[in-house]
């Protein structure tokens, strides 16, 4: 049970935690937070399992993937936040409009 598996399990735990946060909470800022935590958890799993080489330097490819992932995550967060702000400006509430009611 080397360190890499420990971090991988922590990653899995974070993934489930953030999935719960994303589904349960209605406030959009919390959903975006949950998505960021989920992204980090997956990156943790990726890099942790890359360290399973005993003593040799870890595999560089997952590291590159994670850096790409981080930049993509920040772009998605920026767009999501702006969309949330525009939606709050329009509807007054920072939550997904329930679409059952018939709009105009």
């Amino acid at each position: 049970m080397s360190a890499s598996f420990l971090y991988a399990l922590v990653g899995i735990g974070l993934f489930s935690l953030s999935l719960y946060g994303l589904i349960v909470h209605a406030h959009l800022l919390r959903k975006i937070l949950a998505l960021n935590v989920m992204g980090s958890s997956i990156f943790l799993v990726l890099v942790a399992l890359a360290k399973r080489t005993n003593e040799a330097p870890p595999d560089a490819v997952p590291h590159a993937m994670v850096i790409t992932g981080i930049v993509v995550a920040v772009s998605a967060t920026a767009l999501a936040l702006t969309l949330m702000l525009k939606l709050t400006a329009e509807t007054g509430r920072a939550e997904l409009p329930d679409d059952q009611r018939e709009s105009h």
Binding site: L22, K31, M38, V61, T68, V72, L79, L83, L87, L96
Partner: protein, 488 residues
């Protein structure tokens, strides 16, 4: 030591052209429209060039950076990806012509860069043979699509865009966790290599579960379809055409690609494809019933997309024995649905612009002033209903044949019932084209190019009814469905 089997530039141009076009449109907003049209036209030509070249040299493979599969990323195109590229080029070109007249100055400068990046993402996705690279193209596609949906502004569009963004991001992250597990299980992210190394171990089952759920969410299959109708219905017309015709099919294409190659050892088991078939059947019935209940035209068309996607998922249970026939049916349904659905959304856009509203109940005053748009909607409807002579009919015929060969009466019933329900909601709209309606008082003229774009797409969907043999032979290049060895 590049392993470039073919030196033709088409595949690479398909990706670099839209990227370059998008960036130049971003730098030079005034020229956005002209540049956009030129770029889309040249992309269409490159697809034709690729098709021409693939017809004689077969599969197109290109190692990016010359490094080859495990280390570098490979571009790979066989018949199936070529079909999807062709669909993207055709619908893309028609929508571009439509958008040139649809968007005013202000929105146009924003529409074109976003659309060209979306086109680049679609082409990159259909050409990519690397599952992590597919994750990046998914993100590129998702963000571009969300920005395009939000272009319309307004409460509904923003709500739809937000819901779509959350669903797309959740889907991509689930997919990414699957990629992580596969990479660490088998040491590569290349689809071809994975197909060789994969066995029925728990890692692969977990990857199938995660990537499957992510892709089902992005393809909006029945229980996970909640985000599609608001996003597709409240986006601007050309954007909803792009979303329904192309973007939704991209994730179906990837699910199909993974199903046929990476998860090949698992699909023998009854459980998984029966589940997919069940989801597809429920999507067909639920989508059609919901479409029938809608009072807004664009929502009706969006729910019709949910239903038609269900049809394609019926191919999964059928492919167990009928193999190629079922996949050909799904590919053909995807092709004709793309053309027909794009034509329908463009027609709805025309009606919305002319009459100012898309309430079905008082649509008659509008639809009778736009004969070309009414014809486009009717012809597209013929293909959606699966009545001959149309591409939809051929897809339905092939699917029925595959179902009857295996005696799957439940799926036969779903296909037939789906067709009848589709007829119900299409004629519910068409019925208004023949009332004695008075003239709409204030109406906004619809430019001819917009009507003709819709009509040409609809004609394409109908002409597909006669082109089954050439199209299916095109899809057969590189034997994507593993026809050579029929699974037990």
């Amino acid at each position: 030591m590049g392993t470039a089997l073919t030196d033709s530039p088409w595949g690479v141009m398909l990706i670099l052209l839209p990227l370059a076009g998008g960036m130049i449109c971003f730098i030079w907003p005034r020229m956005a429209q002209v540049l956009g049209l030129v770029t889309v036209f040249s992309v269409a030509l490159s697809v034709v060039g690729l098709a021409w070249q693939m017809l004689d040299t077969g599969v197109y493979r290109h190692a990016v950076g010359g490094w080859g599969a495990p280390l570098g990323i490979d571009l790979y195109a066989d018949g199936l990806s070529l079909l999807m590229l062709l669909v993207t080029a055709m619908v893309g070109f028609a929508v571009s012509v439509y958008s040139a007249a649809f968007f005013e100055r202000e929105d146009a400068t924003r529409f074109w860069p976003l659309w060209l990046f979306l086109l680049a993402a679609l082409n990159a996705l259909f050409l990519s043979a690397d599952i992590f690279n597919i994750y990046v193209t998914f993100e590129l596609m998702g963000l571009a699509a969300v920005a395009l949906v939000a272009l319309a502004g307004g409460r509904d569009a923003l709500g739809g865009a937000m819901r779509y963004l959350l669903a797309a991001l959740l889907g991509s992250l689930a997919y990414l966790l699957g990629v992580a597990l596969l990479y660490h299980g088998f040491g590569t992210v290349d689809i071809a290599l994975l197909a060789e190394r994969v066995d029925a171990s728990p890692v692969v089952w977990a990857a199938l579960g995660l990537m499957g759920t992510g892709l089902l969410l992005k393809t909006a299959v029945f229980p996970l379809h909640f985000w599609l109708p608001p996003a597709h219905a409240h986006a601007p017309a050309p954007v909803s055409a792009l979303l329904s015709a192309l973007v939704v099919k991209a994730s179906f294409y990837i699910l199909l690609r993974l199903w046929l190659e990476v998860f090949e050892p698992l699909i023998g088991s009854e459980g998984v494809h029966t589940l997919l078939g069940l989801l597809g059947a429920m999507a067909v019935l639920w989508g059609s019933v919901q479409a029938l209940r809608q009072t807004r035209l664009k929502l009706l068309i969006a729910y019709s997309t949910v239903a038609q996607i269900g049809y394609m998922f019926l191919a999964f249970p059928l492919a167990a024995a009928a193999g190629v026939a079922a996949w050909n049916a799904a590919a053909y349904l995807a092709f004709s649905h793309a053309l027909a659905k794009a034509a329908m959304f463009l027609a709805a856009g025309n009606l919305l612009r002319f009459g100012g509203h898309d309430r079905i109940a008082d649509l008659d005053r509008v639809v009778q002033r736009l004969p070309l748009t009414a014809a486009a909607f009717a012809l597209a409807g013929v293909s959606i209903m699966g009545l001959p002579p149309s591409g939809g009919f051929i897809g339905k015929w092939l699917m029925l044949e595959a179902a009857l060969v295996q005696g799957r009466w439940d799926l036969v019933a779903v296909i037939i019932l789906g067709g009848l329900l589709a007829a119900a909601y299409i004629f519910k709209v068409l019925g208004y084209a023949f009332t004695q309606a008075d003239v709409v008082h204030e109406s906004r003229a619809v430019p001819a190019s917009m009507e003709w774009a819709a009509l040409l797409l609809a004609l394409g969907a109908v002409l597909l009814g006669f082109l089954a043999v050439p199209v299916l032979s095109l899809v057969g290049i590189g034997d994507p469905f593993g026809a050579s060895e029929i699974r037990p």
